[in-house]
């Protein structure tokens, strides 16, 4: 699934264009950044409802190219700027984390 398709499935706004060509196969869902750092290393997408700068730093270190914020939450401008400077794709959706997970699973993504 590419970023365009992802944003359609989740009815999500794209707040930062990273590498738009990235292909999402595996997703990791967590609000605990320590867990993302430990277990999320194979993912191309992080789904979280935490919106601080550390979410961007975390995906930067783990090299997850895209992040999707849930529950209608959006990070502040500075966080989006940071994501842009690191070429990380940022999406935001009104759906809950549970709904997002379900939709992505139904669309065939792996955990």
């Amino acid at each position: 699934m590419n970023i365009k398709e992802l944003s359609q499935v989740l009815n999500a706004k794209i707040l930062s264009n990273g590498h738009l060509s990235v292909e999402i196969k595996t997703t990791y869902v967590s609000d605990l950044m320590s867990d993302v750092l430990t277990f999320g290393r194979e993912a191309e997408l992080l789904v979280t409802s935490l919106t601080n700068r550390q979410t961007i730093r975390t995906v930067e270190m783990v090299e997850i190219p895209a992040i999707c914020y849930t529950n209608g939450k959006q990070p502040d401008e500075k966080t989006i700027e940071l994501a842009k400077s690191k070429k990380i794709t940022v999406l935001a959706t009104e759906f809950s984390t549970f709904q997002v997970t379900g939709k992505l699973f139904a669309a065939g993504l792996q955990g």
Partner: protein, 303 residues
């Protein structure tokens, strides 16, 4: 054994960078009449490299760290700098390539060399071992971003096999939400040096966990990364309160983190364990009231 590889273009650029682009110009200088006892500050400020002795703008001598230590351990007492300074020493010219500086430092085993203007001997700055790498990386950064090539040429081309590349980073105390800035630089620098992605990623993750710890508990700290062909050795030191029970702190899930740490998605008691998991060799030493030292070794050979 797999050797580290670094981009050919990076090496060519390192060869070409003139000394003046990466020398330190903000070093402390002294006059020949200054007293040796006044040099304490200068020694530290100049990264323990060398202290230029100037008459006007002209370099007339230098105090090397070795010379300073000799004086300290001698029974000469407090004497003017002019009596101790070296007057025969190698200098660099601003237009010489960095690789010359590397070779000279390696050859004479000194920590720093003064840079002077070609004819006039006017003092311009100092090249010192410990900030040279920073300077090179900053300079590469400026001409960079055009290309991202890897795996072209041997790392050992820029330094002799015994020499290390040393990178150091200071983590200053600041709000935790800004944590990760240093790890981000470490990550970028290691990629710039052409290390493979798997190594960089493990280093970056360990560094990031450690950086968050430094900011959460220790009021900042220091990263030192030593690299040779075989191993990446990252040391993380702080002068924080120390960890009362290291064994307990290593247990997954054990945490003393306050809420403000947890709110940022950390403090779940996974940090140290995760740092260990990223390492091939991991050591932790902590003393109450003195601080904590982590040692993270990552083998550079492919497994």
């Amino acid at each position: 054994m797999n050797q580290i590889r670094i981009s050919q273009s990076v090496i060519e650029r390192i060869y070409e960078i003139p000394v003046e682009k990466i020398m330190r110009t903000d070093v402390v200088r002294v006059s020949p009449g200054a007293m040796m006892s006044e040099l304490k500050y200068a020694v530290k400020e100049n990264n323990y490299a060398c202290i230029p002795v100037l008459e006007g703008e002209k370099l007339i001598g230098q105090i090397s760290i070795e010379g300073y230590i000799d004086w300290l351990t001698s029974d000469l007492g407090d004497v003017p700098v002019s009596e101790i300074m070296d007057i025969k020493y190698k200098t660099l010219h601003p237009d010489e390539p960095v690789i010359t500086a590397v070779k000279e430092l390696e050859l004479i085993g000194l920590r720093g060399l003064p840079v002077v203007e070609n004819e006039s001997e006017k003092f311009l700055g100092v090249i010192c071992r410990c900030t040279m790498m920073e300077g090179v990386l900053a300079e590469l950064d400026m001409n960079d971003k055009k290309e991202e090539q890897k795996d072209d040429c041997l790392f050992s081309n820029i330094q002799s096999s015994s020499a290390l590349v040393t990178l150091s980073y200071i983590v200053k105390q600041k709000p935790l939400e800004y944590g990760g800035e240093i790890s981000s630089s470490i990550r970028a620098d290691l990629y710039k040096l052409g290390l493979p992605g798997s190594i960089v990623r493990r280093t970056a993750i360990a560094a990031y966990e450690a950086e968050m710890n430094l900011l959460s508990y220790a009021g900042g700290g220091l990263f030192t990364i030593n690299l040779n062909e075989e191993i990446l050795d990252m040391k993380i030191e702080d002068r924080g309160p120390g960890i009362p029970d290291v064994e307990k702190a290593m247990e997954p899930g054990y945490s003393t983190a306050p809420d403000w740490v947890r709110e940022l998605g950390f403090g779940a008691g996974m940090g140290l364990q995760n740092i260990k998991n990223c390492s091939d060799n991991f050591k932790i030493e902590s003393r109450i009231g003195e601080g904590t030292v982590l040692q993270v070794n990552i083998n550079l050979e492919d497994k």
